[in-house]
């Protein structure tokens, strides 16, 4: 019964990945007629000297250290804000929208919002007396722009998960602490936060893994520009491998590194999930 799934997943992931690792040791481009040529580790050595690759790693790391923590903090704050609020069910459904809307569609919306001359973002800023910002024109602002979209898209995910987590906490423990004279903050600090911590780690790792993969938004809103300042790692692989070069060998080497990073994080995630309990295995 498990066979169809095994066939699909082995055939369409394990086999391609094996092929990719193999190809990463070759000089192989679909743009030329040359036969693949074995070149050992030199694709990997090239990465270290490739300034665009370094800059894409730089931007991806920036997403990890700026966007992800922001999402976690905001998501948690919103979860506490909306708890026991009138109409929380409606709000919860509404906040589902940013994360469910296909990223390409979100990209269209944000590209309009960021428009330099007529975009609403610059309009709102002008109400605060801030001059127009060229959101997609400078390295700093285009990077900030992509980070903002990521925060917009994924804070709701953190919120939804933590909100569900909050509701599954034992109520009586928190109420007992109030009876004992605890303030709202100390109930959070000493009871709710420690109980939520495992869940928080799971969310954090999932977000880190997803942030490593960001592609659609970059493609739609900045197309990696200006220059190469918002090339995310995935976007750079796409550029090398498909749109500008069909350099399968080098793109494979880049992908292998990404795969290694993600695999490490995934094994960490699996250890935290307590699968045996949730799945009764």
């Amino acid at each position: 019964m498990i066979l169809p799934l095994l066939v699909i997943l082995l055939g369409l992931t394990m086999y391609p990945f094996g092929y990719m690792v193999y190809m990463s040791f070759f000089r192989y481009s679909l743009a030329s007629w040359e036969k693949p040529q074995f070149i050992g580790f030199s694709n990997y050595r090239d990465i270290l000297r490739d300034r665009t690759a370094i800059s894409s790693i730089d931007f991806t790391v920036l997403l990890l250290v700026v966007a992800v923590p922001l999402e976690i903090l905001l998501g948690m704050a919103i979860a506490f804000l909306l708890r026991d609020t009138f109409g929380e069910r409606v709000f919860r459904s509404a906040l589902l929208i940013p994360m469910m809307v296909p990223a390409v569609v979100a990209g269209i919306a944000w590209k309009m919002l960021y428009n330099f001359e007529f975009g609403p973002v610059n309009y709102f800023l002008s109400l605060l007396g801030i001059p127009k910002i060229s959101w997609l024109g400078t390295q700093f602002f285009s990077r900030l722009g992509v980070i903002l979209i990521d925060v917009w898209q994924w804070t709701p995910f953190v919120f939804l998960v933590l909100y569900a987590g909050l509701q599954s906490l034992p109520r009586d423990v928190v109420e007992a602490s109030f009876v004992d004279g605890a303030s709202g903050f100390s109930a959070f600090r000493y009871i709710e936060f420690p109980l939520l911590r495992p869940l928080l780690f799971v969310v954090l790792i999932i977000r880190v893994i997803d942030a490593l993969k960001i592609f659609d938004i970059v493609y739609m809103v900045t197309f990696g520009g200006p220059g190469s300042s918002t090339h995310s790692y995935s976007f750079y692989i796409y550029k090398v491998g498909v749109s500008f070069g069909w350099d399968i060998g080098y793109a494979s080497a880049l992908s292998v590194l990404l795969l290694l990073a993600v695999s490490l994080l995934v094994s960490l995630l699996i250890r935290m999930l307590r699968l045996r309990e949730t799945l009764e295995l």
Partner: protein, 282 residues
């Protein structure tokens, strides 16, 4: 003091909703704006007259890269529907079988489940390139099957995961009763378990549909023309033009977004459970 707190809370809630909903609001209203109001200063927050021209096309066309939304969108819409329906169907069947085996007979156990999770988290760009090379040898590039197969990789792990938790909630005594009455594994699966898991199957089919519908990267690499390209690619194509006809593009975006929003509100309950791999019941 209490009412001050109430007001502060109200303002914060309003700000949160504004930030998260405004981009969607902007897209939806732009889809109904006449071309004079796509870009104005100050921006047009409420169209002075609503039009369907962005959907149906206007006489003379628009000055821009997307001429009329609906006219050129049809093949892409068709591809999206076919691919997403097939993915939903196949993904549900394949993962129901696997989930039943894992839930009842512990086949593969922890090892298999962990493997499924890791596949679910893998970066799509890493499989896109090797799949391109393999599919081009099989002459599958730019066909529905290329997309269906590629999307199955994304949806089946997720669906299997959710269904295992569903099957686990169905009491084992029911299977046993069926076995005692002389049913085989297949019969008990089809006539006892599946009907009881119907809400789960529906949720899984819906979520697979959504994921396939919005998938962009794999489709971008594996297709080349309107014979197989899906809606997200239509949108991706026109946003890189030098002068963008925003109204029709927003209208096309709305068409792409609508089924997803409706379906995800329907399947909301199972979403959290699936996205966190059961770390929270949801």
């Amino acid at each position: 003091m209490r009412w001050v707190k109430g007001i502060v809370k109200g303002v914060l809630v309003a700000l949160v909703l504004f930030f998260f909903l405004f981009p969607v609001y902007w897209l939806v209203t732009t889809a109904f704006k006449k071309s004079e109001e796509w870009f104005t200063w100050p921006p047009t927050f409420w169209p002075s007259s609503w039009t369907l021209g962005n959907f149906m096309g206007v006489e003379g066309g628009f000055f821009g890269s997307a001429t009329t939304a609906i006219a050129t969108i049809t093949p892409y819409l068709r591809n999206s529907i076919v691919v997403a329906l097939f993915v939903a169907l196949l993904s549900t069947v394949i993962s129901a079988l696997a989930a039943y085996a894992v839930s009842r007979f512990k086949i593969g156990g922890m090892r298999f489940v962990s493997w499924i999770i890791s596949i679910r988290m893998l970066p799509p760009i890493a499989s896109a390139l090797p799949l391109y090379v393999i599919f081009s040898r099989l002459r599958l590039i730019n066909t529905w099957w290329a997309l269906i197969l590629a999307h199955l990789v994304i949806t089946t792990p997720f669906s299997t995961w959710i269904l295992i938790t569903f099957f686990n909630e169905i009491p084992r005594e029911l299977d046993e009763a069926a076995f005692v009455d002389g049913a085989g594994v297949g019969q008990s699966f089809f006539s006892v378990i599946l009907p009881l898991a119907a809400p789960g199957l529906a949720a899984v089919a819906t979520l697979s549909f959504i994921q396939s519908w919005g998938e962009f990267l794999l489709s971008l690499v594996l297709t080349t023309g309107k014979e197989a390209q899906t809606l997200p690619l239509y949108l991706g194509r026109f946003i890189t033009g030098w002068r963008i006809a925003w109204g029709p593009l927003a209208a096309a975006g709305l068409v792409t977004m609508l089924p997803v929003v409706v379906f995800s509100l329907l399947a909301q309950r199972y979403l959290v459970r699936g996205l966190t791999f059961g770390a929270v019941k949801g």
